[in-house]
């Protein structure tokens, strides 16, 4: 029975995970996402789940690795500095073809930075996942409701592609409060995947979860299998929204919180006589390349708005492939853009 509640993005991430079937949480506190582990510590044990406060993010992601190896639906959450520490574990999970869900409520950096909203973990989220040839499947919500929905949906996606899925949001989305329609909590599936370790091993072959392949041809085969899954994910999981003028001069590309600001900005620009269309990628990897490539043929210019100094723009440029000029409007270090500033920039370049 859907029920609407006024909750924060952090609470939406936590409850969305539980509703999606997650019962195992391992994490280490860091602002601005502390409400997630707090919520999990309160809500998981009563329903037979497990909450463990790890000694570090390094340990947390490795606990998730162990949990995932048993076929459990496990997650961790953190914010930028903690996500840096999880890179090793993510690389091992990708190599061992293990699913998990992690949430990054990104904050200003580099270094200890600050606890203000930032999108400067774009590369970390879409290119990262540590060393090697793997990546996280990455989704970027722009509202409390979308955090709730995407976190829940991320679990079956992670299982299907046997790969970590990252939900990339930021300090504003983490702490803002919005009405959110909550679903009943799903139970995780009872049947374990065939590759899972543990339990009663009688009458089956032993299972090994491993990312060590010393023979390069074998390692290449594993990597090609992983790449094949990414191609399938590109077919099935590429998501975006678009709206605005049907015959625009300017295409605006933004994701997450900046896309939300751009919604108002393109209305201001329209009032000033500049027709814009806004494309908001929801999946960052796989990236909605084709739709951006299509529109790039039909506009004069593309404006990329991001809370970083030119990370997301690289994927947009790859999609535009030189079809028209691509301009950046970025703020960094925890600074937000305003709709007025974005509108001004649109008018300036039009």
């Amino acid at each position: 029975m859907p029920e609407r509640q006024l909750i924060t993005g952090n609470e939406a991430a936590a409850e969305g995970a539980i509703a999606g079937g997650c019962r195992y949480f391992f994490g280490y506190p860091i602002t601005p996402q502390n409400r997630i582990p707090e919520y999990m510590s309160e809500h998981l044990p009563p329903i037979g789940g497990v909450y463990i406060q790890a000694e570090s993010e390094v340990a947390a992601i490795n606990m998730v690795y162990g949990a995932a190896a048993t076929g459990a639906w496990a997650m961790t959450t953190s914010s930028s500095p903690g996500i840096s520490l999880m890179q090793e574990g993510l690389s091992y999970m990708i190599g061992a073809e293990l699913p998990c869900v992690l949430v990054n409520m990104a904050r200003g950096g580099p270094g200890l930075g600050n606890i203000a909203p930032a999108q400067s973990d774009y590369w970390l989220a879409t290119r990262g996942a540590g060393h090697g040839d793997g990546r996280c499947l990455t989704f970027a919500p722009f509202s409390v409701q979308e955090i709730y929905d995407l976190v829940g949906q991320a679990f079956p996606i992670a299982q299907k592609y046997r790969n970590p899925v990252m939900i990339l949001a930021d300090a504003v989305l983490a702490s803002m409060r919005e009405p959110c329609a909550l679903r009943d909590r799903l139970d995780p599936p009872e049947e374990k995947p065939s590759w899972a370790v543990g339990g009663d091993q009688k009458g089956r072959q032993r299972n090994i979860v491993n990312s060590l392949w010393t023979d390069p041809p074998v390692m290449e085969e594993v990597n090609l299998r992983i790449q094949q899954r990414y191609r399938e994910a590109a077919q099935n999981e590429t998501r975006w929204t678009e709206h605005g003028a049907d015959d625009p001069e300017i295409l605006v590309c933004a994701y997450g919180i900046s896309a939300r600001i751009c919604q108002t900005a393109i209305e201001h620009a329209a009032e000033a006589g500049v027709a814009c269309r806004l494309i908001r990628p929801i999946s960052l990897f796989p990236f909605p390349t084709e739709v951006i490539a299509d529109w790039a043929q039909r506009v004069d210019k593309v404006l990329v708005v991001e809370l970083s100094m030119g990370q997301f723009i690289e994927d947009v440029r790859l999609a535009v492939a030189g079809a028209c000029p691509v301009e950046l409007f970025g703020r960094t270090g925890g600074m937000l853009v305003t709709p007025e500033e974005v509108a001004e920039r649109i008018i300036e370049i039009a």
Binding site: A59, M63, Y65, E88, Y92, G198, Q201
Partner: protein, 255 residues
């Protein structure tokens, strides 16, 4: 007429070990340690509900040798991975197999905190006082004055600080249910080591908490010794820094 017994098997490969050739150097005690763990799993009837966790070091291929479900973990992270498995499946028997570089250097936080949380799994800690796999560099457990490839003049306080005694550290932690230091330098010592390993797994099976058995081990290759000399060096030198002892035994206390 009485039947003649042609042959009676008195010694064979434990069921919990696979029939593959191990990659260890001749005379290395990793092989004995594997066999002892496997014998204990057989004798306690745990083979079909055990997950072995191989870590990073010469024993990285342990998942090929133990004939159970297995997970290979990142360097030092075995106890965190074990925590994840055990918390999801409390009835599964879980053990990590870690060298001194893996456990006492890069993985010190993970093992300490697993013990403080009284995680109910078993750690097999193979202390050979060097990083064997990476060609014999100094480990936290390297003895004072010991020559390694990164302490060519011998370990000095200025350069490498002091040896780290893991059991003595862990002995203070209430979450520890069984804790012992053993070695494998003679048949007698090997039998004693096996008794401790068995108790560690029994403590886990009884749900008593964290258990660890340190095995003072040899690395003839990087100690530049013949296998027997290496065993003698353990007796003469290493055991002075790392005395054999049962530090904690909650099984005995419970009796």
């Amino acid at each position: 007429m009485a039947e003649t017994k042609l042959a009676e098997s008195v010694y064979k490969r434990p069921e919990s070990l696979t029939d593959v050739q191990m990659r260890y150097c001749p005379g290395c005690t990793h092989g004995i340690a594997h066999r002892l763990v496997a014998e204990v799993l057989d004798e306690l009837g745990l083979k079909e509900r055990t997950v072995a966790i191989a870590t990073v070091g010469c024993s990285v291929y342990a998942y090929e040798y133990f004939d159970t479900d297995a997970v290979q973990a990142a360097h030092g992270r075995g106890p965190a991975v074990a925590t994840g498995i055990k918390r999801c499946q409390p009835d599964t028997i879980v053990f990590t197999y870690q060298g001194d570089g893996d456990l006492a250097a890069i993985g010190l936080a993970e093992v300490m905190h697993a013990a403080t949380r009284a995680e109910n799994f078993t750690v097999i800690f193979v202390n050979n006082a060097v990083f064997g796999m990476t060609q014999g560099q100094m480990a936290p457990t390297t003895l004072m004055g010991q020559k390694t490839t990164t302490t060519p003049q011998g370990r000095s306080v200025e350069q490498g600080g002091y040896p780290l005694n893991i059991c003595e550290l862990l002995a203070q932690i209430p979450g520890v249910a069984y804790l012992a230091r053993e070695t494998m330098t003679s048949p007698k010592r090997i039998r004693q080591a096996k008794r401790s390993l068995k108790k560690a797994f029994q403590a886990q099976a009884a749900g008593l908490g964290f258990s660890l058995v340190e095995l003072v081990s040899s690395c003839p290759t990087w100690w530049h010794m013949k296998p027997l000399e290496a065993l003698q060096w353990i007796e003469d030198v290493m055991l002075e820094q790392y005395p054999l002892k049962v530090f904690v035994d909650k099984l005995a206390e419970g009796q």
